[in-house]
């Protein structure tokens, strides 16, 4: 695999008040890979993700997407970057006053510039890919939490972005659906060579989809392990990492 760096994070330090969440974190994401970010609850995964997509401004360090520094861009310049990325938020973030179909149609109508018939067809296709066919007229408040996650995923990938950011895509899903989401992620990655950054805790899905992982830790406020999960599981020098992958607190 050619190793083109699509996201570069350098010396990212994040503080909320006096509280340092991330301390000088640096890593790269390579084009076409599936990178899984993991770590205990509250260790700053969502925070890291929000900084990678330029939603936060108060920090030091730099983030570049596709060789474009996003850290010194203002809002209007960010729109170029936003066209390249799709984001699934931890809380799904569907627009509550619009139906599921309208939520997915929103980016399509704004940017795809296609006839109405084609857009309808695309909506159905996207819904089918997350197993939500027939729910396009439901409001977000009328579907379950796991369904919201899937609808959010469909919206995130509506425009086939080059980079997908998924914050816990399989949280709240049953094992079968969650495995289907894994398959979908692999399929998107394979067919469209989409770069995918995922936050997840599901061991099964980590081993299945991850090309590479980075593991964050609360006490170190940064990365404690980076690499192939299968290798780290057996050979990591860090006890925390082996504990996590072997699901064994006593290791």
């Amino acid at each position: 695999m050619e190793k083109e760096k699509i996201i570069q994070v350098k010396n990212l330090t994040v503080k909320y008040g006096d509280h340092t969440i991330l301390d000088s974190v640096s890593f790269d994401v390579y084009s076409g890979e599936i990178l899984v970010i993991l770590g205990g609850s509250g260790c700053g995964k969502t925070t890291l993700l929000r900084h990678m997509i330029g939603l936060e401004t108060s920090f030091s360090g730099s983030v570049a997407i596709d060789d474009e520094m996003i850290t010194d861009k203002d809002e209007s310049q960010m729109f170029n970057v936003f066209q390249k990325i799709g984001v699934l938020f931890q809380g799904s973030a569907l627009i509550g006053s619009m139906t599921i179909g309208e939520n997915i149609a929103l980016p399509l109508q704004e940017y795809a510039n296609l006839p109405q018939r084609s857009i309808q067809l695309l909506i159905q296709t996207k819904l089918a890919s997350v197993n939500l066919l027939g729910f396009d007229r439901h409001l977000p408040s009328e579907i379950s939490g796991g369904m919201k996650k899937r609808a959010g995923l469909a919206r995130a990938m509506a425009l086939n972005p080059r980079i997908l950011f998924l914050d816990e895509p399989s949280a709240g899903l049953d094992p079968v659906t969650s495995a289907e989401i894994d398959q979908l992620i692999l399929k998107i990655n394979h067919e469209l060579s989409t770069t995918i950054v995922i936050i997840t805790h599901e061991l099964a899905s980590i081993f299945k989809v991850a090309s590479r992982i980075i593991m964050l830790d609360k006490s170190k406020k940064g990365i404690i392990a980076e690499g192939d999960p299968n290798y780290l599981k057996e050979h990591s020098e860090n006890r925390l990492v082996r504990r996590f992958f072997n699901r064994n607190p006593d290791l």
């Binding site: 627009i95 509550g96 006053s97 795809a112 510039n113 296609l114 006839p115 109405q116 018939r117 084609s118 309808q120 067809l121 695309l122 909506i123 159905q124 296709t125 996207k126 089918a128 890919s129 007229r137 409001l139 977000p140 408040s141 425009l159 086939n160 067919e191 469209l192």
Partner: protein, 380 residues
Amino acid sequence: MTDTSRFSPPTRQWLKTGEGNFTLRLAGRLDVNTASAALKTIVPELKIRSPLYLAINIEDIHFFDDFGAVVLFELKKQTEDQKGTAEIIGVHKSTQSILDRITFEPDSNETKQTPRSDNFPERLGEATFKFCSNLGYLLSFFGAVLVAVCHVFRQPKRLRLNDMIFQMEKTGVNALPIVGMISFLLGLIMAFMSSIQLKQFGANIYVASLVALAMISELGPIMTAIIVSGRSGSAFAAEIATMKVSEEIDALFTMGFDPVIFLTIPRLFAAIIVVPILTVLSNLFAITGGLVIGVTMLNLTTGSYISQSVEAITLFEILWGLFKSIVFAVLIAWTGCLRGFQARGGASAVGNAATSAVVSSIFLIILFDSVFAVIRSYWW
């Protein structure tokens, strides 16, 4: 891979293979970035040729996704609209799997909107039914609040005193500047306007009684109630509605709290305590406003203005005004909390709750005020 190649539409090659038979060879990218441009160029070319049979060869498409598939689908449809048939050929195995996902018909037009009856009587009936059930909910919520009040009186421990004090601060203390300013200006304006008329009769001194009387028995309670309803009634509704849509109320319920006692009672009691106090202060501010006009423009002395004001008002008027303001306070807290609890759905439900809380509380305030006015005029 440069960005320009990423956005350039596929190259096209039309071949005439017979009378009305065409083959369209596409090469390059047919994906999310090029779909729109591809359609825009191909559709006119298709319209000119209007083929009876069209073969779309996508052998040389090296980048394809579901947007591309939709473009092919649209071309097929367009051909069929012109009474032709179209076929897609040269499909790779990987492309086929993408095409397979788009085999169903979009249910575009027929079920677009939920059927809404245009029949006037039917809609009138629906609206009436909705109004009545709304009224029913209004009353049953009032009942629930009364029950909650009884509970709290029996077990005063269940009253969340800290919450109540917090609400009193938010509803009362923080409203004082705006209530004070509006009342002061109102007094000023009233005195000024009435003085224009009263001056002609040399009855300047009656400006004082007019301002005092109008404020204490009518305007004070009404103005204060409307301001509080706009400030706090909407806040009650928005806060409770947010809790409702994010399942916080259900959480309270499952923890064994009665949401009505937990949320409504502190707000209700806070309103009942602070609205009359605000009303009294509002009256004082208005009288001060009138006094400023009286002293500066009407040659009245401060002493005479005040003594005239005091003479005009009776204890009954004061109590009547206070009684009304207590009723208004109940209306504000009641509708505010009610609309909050009624909210259902997402963020827009919160906005609707706040709006309808203010609208219905102001409506009820005016309605009750009119009823009081009628009662009073028949009572005398």
